[in-house]
Amino acid sequence: MSEILQIESILNKEYESVDLVSFQEWLENIDKLSNLSVGVIIGPSDDVSLIKGHFDFIELIALDFNNFDDGRGYSQAYLLSKRWQFSGEIIGINAHLDQLQFMIRSGVTSYILLDSYIGLNEEDYANGFSICYQEAVNNSGLQQKY
């Protein structure tokens, strides 16, 4: 399991010199982009299953958690990391402080918070509990009890 990384910004669409493209852009240019090992930004309504046969050509995946009430990203993270064993970084972008515990336990391996949370203590939100009641992709150090 990857360490939880904190990445300052991907606004310049660069991550360790990897270019990020939108899901739509990637779908429309699969052949061309497959040779470039790009990162793909996936939104909640994107059908994540469409990329599962192309993991060898994708450097990282950025899941967009901007919509606070839209929980599809958690299932996308689970499918990518646990079921389809994507081995690259799964970054939660536009992340909310109060949802870090859910993102990390669903399989997100690093995250970038929205600017509005800068300065708050992330540890309080990522690790607010001593136990959890269910199996998860990453139990995040919690003792599992069920």
């Binding site: 669903s106 509990f129 009641y133």
Partner: protein, 545 residues
């Protein structure tokens, strides 16, 4: 009686600590209204018409006497001396001050009570038959399964931000006291031809503006596989459920749009990937421990020489409010909280304390809550039922109308709820006044009336013999009547009688419906049986003549 251990109690405190930090940030302007709303709902806190409302879970409807006293203390200290028992085994407090919420929740956590996921778009409190473990013919007590499934979906990382709320009910009894097929997901404990225990799974039920009966998506899922099957069901819902239309968020719309067969196929396809994952198996060792924790605290007793007291009022009450117990020498006693002029399901803090005391004296300190907003004493010795009745009489809690139409189920309505379109409680009071004659009530017999103040259908009006739905017409309150809904023997959505009736005339209309029933009733036919035999026309003709 099952109680949380130190780890579980600590978890409740940690949850309160987290919510308190979020509240402070919100009050300091660091967390906007929309996000705070989403977070507070997941902690059971609503913003209502006059104040904040807190919904506290009563898991599987089982309460201990100290827990009820704790709720009474909250009613006194943080509310106006009342609590409202709901139709889904919760209790609500309607006058909560926001800054006090963390202290309130900490006090409740001392007794293992909480408000986690009693609202919001996540798995809600899981309900069970309030008579679990008490009746003949039950396959198994559903409560240990409720507890294990409740735990599993407690702050579940993948399924805490679903398209809509997700209500689960589990039934292990012959009759369905849980109304499981009007839930987002209902589980029925069954045995297959080999005698193995498992669940039939029903998905996509719900009331509201588009009432639907849940479809069976699996006829038999082995007990240890149930968590992975539920996860697959929720995963399909989470990924494919409607999020684009506020009125189509519930899973029932997805099941309807895909078709039950296709929905089941998608769930099964997903489940094939996880059903053999040992980490997703139900913990059978823990299950056995929970079965011991939930085992009945009584043994059969021989009351050979016992003779029942002869008292007219006692006999009426006993006939309506007491039922037989599977354990020899014991009875199940139902206590109605619905009385003239009071909101159905409301209990004062004093009543709560009296019930807690009486439960210790007569019912091993345990109480249950039901979807008809009543309190059950599950373990009363037959030779002590009379004494209990006398005590209840003393405190005005021996209302003998269990099962009669006077025991109305109603939501808070427009008096308290900002979603409601019309009042519920005043209508309930007027109906009770119209039928305020015990002889008449007994002659009518079992008949239920449920009143919802809006299409959210919190009072389950679709599945009552007579259902009333409040609405607005030209700025006035009207009520739509539905007839012959039920869930106990089979699940049937009530039929709309016709045009809605004004608030002024609605009680006359209800009386007319009752009179048509009595006129056509043969022998001891139930309302739904008469309705099936004669159809809707005789009712319609009389009400709209």
């Amino acid at each position: 009686m099952y109680q949380y251990n130190a780890e579980d109690s600590n978890f409740l405190v940690e949850r309160v600590d987290q919510f308190e930090k979020q509240l402070k940030r919100h009050l300091a302007g660091e967390l906007d209204d929309a996000k705070f709303r989403s977070l507070r709902l997941r902690n059971g806190l609503y913003m209502e018409l006059h104040a904040h409302m807190l919904r506290v879970a009563i898991p599987y409807g089982t309460l201990s006497s100290p827990q009820l006293r704790s709720l009474a203390n909250v009613a006194d200290k943080y509310d106006r001396g009342f609590g409202h028992f709901t139709t889904r085994q919760n209790i609500q407090f309607n006058w909560i001050e926001l800054p006090e919420i963390a202290n309130l929740l900490r006090e409740l956590s001392d007794e293992g009570l909480h408000a986690i996921q009693t609202s919001g778009k996540a798995t809600r409190n899981i309900t069970a038959d309030p008579l679990s473990g008490l009746t003949e013919g039950e396959i198994e007590d559903a409560r240990p399964y409720c507890e294990l499934i409740r735990r599993w979906f407690n702050l579940h990382p993948e399924f805490s931000w679903l398209p809509g709320k997700f209500k689960i009910a589990i039934n292990g009894a012959k009759l369905d006291e849980t109304a499981l097929r009007i839930h987002d997901l209902g589980l029925r404990l069954v045995r297959n031809s080999k005698g193995q225990l498992g669940f039939s799974v029903f998905v996509g039920g719900g009331l509201g503006a588009a009432a639907m009966i849940a479809a069976e998506t699996a006829s038999f899922i082995e007990v240890e596989d149930i968590l992975s099957y539920l996860e697959s069901t929720m995963r399909i819902y989470n990924l494919k459920g409607r999020r684009d239309h506020q009125k189509k968020l519930r899973i029932k719309f997805l099941v309807r749009e895909l078709g039950a067969e296709e929905f089941s196929r998608l769930v099964d396809e997903d489940w094939q990937q996880t059903k053999n994952d040992s980490k997703l198996k139900l913990n059978l060792v823990e299950l056995e421990q929970l079965k011991k924790d939930f085992s009945l605290p009584i043994k059969p007793i021989d009351l050979g020489g016992f003779e029942e007291k002869v008292d007219f009022n006692y006999s009426i009450w006993k006939n309506n409010n007491v039922r037989s117990h599977k354990v020899d020498g014991f009875s199940i006693v139902n206590i109605s909280l619905t009385k003239l002029g009071a909101a159905p399901g409301d209990a004062t803090s004093e009543q709560m304390r009296i019930l807690a005391d009486l439960s210790e004296k007569y019912s091993a300190g345990e109480l249950r809550t039901t979807k008809r907003q009543t309190i059950v004493f599950p373990y009363v010795r037959k030779d002590q039922v009379f004494n209990l009745w006398q005590s209840l009489e003393k405190y005005d809690l021996a209302i003998p109308h269990q099962g009669t139409l006077a025991q109305i189920v109603a939501c808070p309505g427009r008096d308290y709820c900002d979603l409601a379109k019309a009042v519920s409680i005043p209508i309930a009071t007027r109906v009770q006044e119209r039928f305020n004659d015990m002889k008449k009530l007994l002659d009518i017999g079992n008949l239920n009336i449920n009143i919802s103040g809006c299409e959210n259908s919190c009072a389950h009006h679709h599945v009552a013999d007579i259902g009333l739905l409040g609405m607005q017409k030209n700025g006035e309150e009207y009520y739509q009547i539905t007839l012959a809904g039920e869930t106990l023997y089979e699940t049937v959505i009530g039929k709309k009688l016709g045009p809605s009736v004004s608030g002024e005339n609605i009680v006359d209309a209800v009386e007319t419906v009752v009179n048509v029933y009595l006129e056509h009733r043969q022998n001891q036919e139930r309302f739904t049986e008469v309705f099936k035999r004669i159809g809707i026309t005789p009712f319609k003709e009389k009400v709209y003549e």
